[in-house]
């Protein structure tokens, strides 16, 4: 009997190695896997590359991971927020690398990684600073930028319900990057609010099929 449910967040992140590229779900705080990030801070892997939409808020979650000095580089669309002071200070002090990627290109590059494409031509950012040095091509009169996949060694995501085969559902706008990050990483770890019995999730309503998920950690009830 296959059981992807892992007992603790500590155990779930225990194989994350120094230098790993980690995809972290969430848009602001919605969908951010806070407990997994806490475990990652405790685990204290270094020299990480983090891929996430934002660069952390206040003194929680992703911001604390940065503060802990674990992160060498962050790839995100929107680092600057009213409460992103931890990132802001590190960046201005030259202590963290930043690659800004348009939000849709971030999504598309994760999808390309997940679906085995070698590269994609996207119209976004053509002619801008963010396309500097990138290959371009005009197709049917539209200008495109060549973008490459973003693959994760690990993904940390937050879902709503999960089962022992790794099937996941999400809650409202907390879904955001979870499903596509799950496809784009070699090892996906999902924290869920509830672990349910196999068969309890309607096969029509499963958003992330278990094939994309390697570990499920329960933050709430097991039913």
């Amino acid at each position: 009997m296959l059981n992807k449910v892992t007992e603790s967040t500590a155990e779930a992140v225990s194989n994350i190695h120094d230098g790993a590229t980690i995809l972290i779900g969430g848009f602001g705080l919605a969908g951010q896997p806070a407990e997994l990030i806490d475990a990652l801070i405790e685990h204290n892997a270094k020299d990480l590359t983090i891929v996430s939409n934002n660069a952390g808020n206040g003194d929680t979650g992703l911001a604390l991971l940065l503060k802990a000095g674990c992160v060498r580089k962050i790839i995100c669309s929107f680092p600057r927020q009213h409460d992103s002071y931890i990132f802001d200070d590190l960046y201005r002090a030259g202590k963290i690398e930043l690659e800004v990627v348009p939000q849709g290109s971030l999504a598309a590059r994760l999808e390309a990684a997940g679906s085995g494409l070698g590269a994609i031509y996207t119209p976004t950012a053509y002619g801008t600073l963010l396309a500097e040095g990138k290959e371009t091509r005009t197709i049917d009169g539209v200008n495109y930028v060549l973008e490459y996949p973003i693959k994760g060694d690990f993904a940390l995501i937050k879902a709503f319900k999960g089962d022992r085969w790794g099937n996941l559902t999400y809650r409202k706008a907390a879904r955001n990057f979870g499903p596509i990050m799950a496809t784009a990483s070699k090892h996906t770890i999902a924290q869920v609010s509830e672990v349910v019995a196999l068969g309890a999730l309607d096969p029509e309503h499963i958003i992330t099929p278990g094939i994309f998920v390697h570990e499920v950690v329960c933050m709430g009830a097991e039913t």
């Binding site: 669309s77 201005r92 939000q103 999504a107």
Partner: protein, 215 residues
């Protein structure tokens, strides 16, 4: 001495809202454009999209009913209309980049007379670049409206011949709503459609960094 009172942000938002037709799929950018939501006609079905995976955004929740999992791209609490839906970021940007969004309303630092827009980065040494969905919206939405002050805080025109700031998207702005005027970006040039009461065309031109055309 001015003989006119600039439109308030709410008044600008009303002009934008008036131009939005039933059945349109609309993305409202962070900042001033968010205000447009409050002036959409309640008897028409207009669909508000948010980059973070929401279609059919409703008004702000009542106090105490906020849900941390239900926010918009500006990270404000929202609600969902009946008939709304949730989806992941890939699908959300399929909507945007794939040309399925009829209209997006963006704030801007500058707009050039050819429709180029700058709204993501001031490029000063202390600034941290952050783009979000702006570049995707600029190239992907069928129509792009800009909503902004006509001049900057120090009085410099924000409508210019060519951008001074880093570009967000090329030739994508279709219409500009400011506190002084509503201006169409056309193949012929910047066509003034509406001006604030009491303002003369010459005064408007004097506050604008590119040649305007009187309709």
């Amino acid at each position: 001495m001015n003989n006119y009172t600039p439109w308030s942000v709410d008044e600008i938002a009303k002009w934008v809202a008036q131009d939005i037709e039933e059945g349109m799929y609309v993305n409202l950018g962070i900042g001033q454009p968010t205000k447009v939501a409050g002036f959409l006609p309640e008897d028409k079905d207009i669909f508000l999209h948010s980059e973070n995976g929401v279609l059919g955004m409703g008004p702000e929740p009542a106090e105490g009913e906020e849900d941390g999992d239900l926010i918009n791209a500006g990270k404000q609490y929202i609600t969902l209309l009946e008939g709304g839906s949730y989806f992941h970021h890939g699908d959300s940007f399929t909507m945007i980049r794939g040309g399925h969004i009829d209209l997006c309303v963006l704030g801007a630092f500058e707009v050039a007379e050819n429709g180029d827009i700058a709204n993501w980065f001031l490029g000063r040494p202390k600034d941290i670049p952050a783009v979000g969905g702006a570049m995707d919206l600029a190239v992907g939405a069928k129509e792009v409206y800009v909503m902004m002050d006509h001049v900057s805080k120090n009085g410099a025109p924000k409508i210019v011949e060519t951008l001074n700031l880093p570009i967000t998207g090329e030739k994508c702005v279709d219409r500009i709503y400011t506190d002084l005027a509503v201006i169409d970006v056309t193949d012929q040039g910047l066509m003034v459609r509406k001006m604030v009461a009491g303002l003369t065309f010459d005064e408007l031109q004097a506050n604008t960094g590119a040649k305007l055309i009187q309709q």
